[in-house]
Symmetry: none
Subunit: 224 residues, 2 copies
DNA sequence: TCATAGATTCACAACACTTTCAAGCAACAC
DNA sequence: GTGTTGCTTGAAAGTGTTGTGAATCTATGA
């Protein structure tokens, strides 16, 4: 499975670094933002699976970030708050946050909450299958882990599928081999860049000319 | 829309009554159970949209209730706990609870949490239906705990049945071995991944080629 | 306590996938 | 053009995963 991204919006860099470390260890890709504006920007461009937002932010505060996210989509949000009053809690939850953690918190607890929220997410998406449309013909179903071309199922190997999902998750973006390796193979993988090429070839072979997978010379690949 | 039911499993009647009052006011139908056994029974028969479960129950405790609910479906669960340790919290969340509240809590907060959980997604109440149709021929009755193939009963062992129910509750979803272990064996189970394979083999053997149970290479299994 | 069914582990064959390799080919720079 | 670099491709070697039967361990009930 392609690595899942989490955006952390937190102005206190020591807290941010701590979360960064623990979330990475739990297998997530972590994107840090120091203020609400940058956070919203990251969320819009990087398509994370979840956002962790501190309420007490400079500029656009956490409540506002929450409100905007709730308007623009259904990204799960975990709120960090220093305030302990019941009123704030309810306000946060009614704003659409999926959960909140009161400072001081343990990073392990945050990771557990994140996992709990994401587990819910899969349940929800089960009902209305999470399908990525690569083209009108090529559909990638990440729940079923299968691909259809014009309605016909095409069997893909594990790595082929994961690679396709990662590319399809970043449509129209030229991805470097390093980015692809980090996301699909994992950052600690040691091996040849060329390995990607072979899997790309398999995808092109199996999915045919319908697949808009371009070679970015000297860089990497781009889907769409 | 028909009134939504919530099952409250709580042995302290003063707390139960308090929750009852507030939840009713919020427009829910409230069903009270004093112990875990009665709670599971109510949940099985009344198809609530959510369960509120106290951890410190007599008989079948809250953890066990949670675990069984997670096996038999994806009913949202809100945990009530008197214990405040981080370990318990994480254990509860990893057991599949969607949220938890620490005593003493305010009933208003509980109502807010309940609403937050329900807002997350359309709750598939049919997931808790007693009979699951795996195919036209294969029917799984979670109340009777039996399986029929073309009307003929097929005896399954406990683990085989629990595994089948979990797979059938997530039709068309590729489930990892870890997900399956967490749900069916419990998060604290220590043992070999491959145990699943053997039970899968038994299911395939007993239910025949009718069973649409696919191996997701390098991942796990998928039913349907 | 023993008998029995069930659960788990083990070992190994069979298989599917992944990676590497080497040669040929295409793009780019000059 | 020509050299250089990077990409494609087919096949082979390497690795890891799954299926299976049997053995072992563990509950359960008579």
């Amino acid at each position: 499975m392609a690595e899942q991204s989490i955006v952390v919006v937190e102005d206190d860099s020591s807290i941010a670094d701590l979360l960064d470390m623990y979330l990475r260890e739990a297998g997530f890709r972590v994107l840090l933002a120091l203020d609400g504006e940058r956070g919203l920007q990251l969320i819009a461009t990087q398509r994370p699976v979840l956002a962790i937002v501190d309420i007490g932010l400079p500029g656009i505060d956490g409540f506002e970030v929450c409100r905007r996210l709730r308007v623009s989509g259904n990204l799960p949000v975990l709120i960090l708050t220093a305030r302990d009053g019941e009123f704030d809690r309810i306000l946060g939850l009614e704003l659409g946050a999926d959960d909140y953690v009161t400072k001081p918190f343990s990073p392990r607890e945050v990771v557990a909450r994140v996992k709990a929220i994401l587990r819910r997410g899969t349940v929800v998406t089960t009902a209305n299958a999470s399908v990525i449309e690569v083209t009108d013909e090529i559909l990638v179903d990440t729940n079923r882990r299968d691909v259809t071309v014009s309605g016909v199922g095409v069997p893909l190997a594990t790595k082929e599928f994961d690679l396709l999902v990662y590319l399809a998750d970043n449509p129209g973006v030229a991805l470097s081999r390093q980015q692809i390796l980090d996301a699909v193979w994992g950052v600690d993988w040691l091996g040849d860049d060329r390995t990607i090429d072979v899997h790309v070839r398999q995808l092109r072979r199996k999915l045919g000319d319908d697949l808009p997978l371009a070679t970015m010379w000297g860089v990497g690949y781009r889907l769409g």
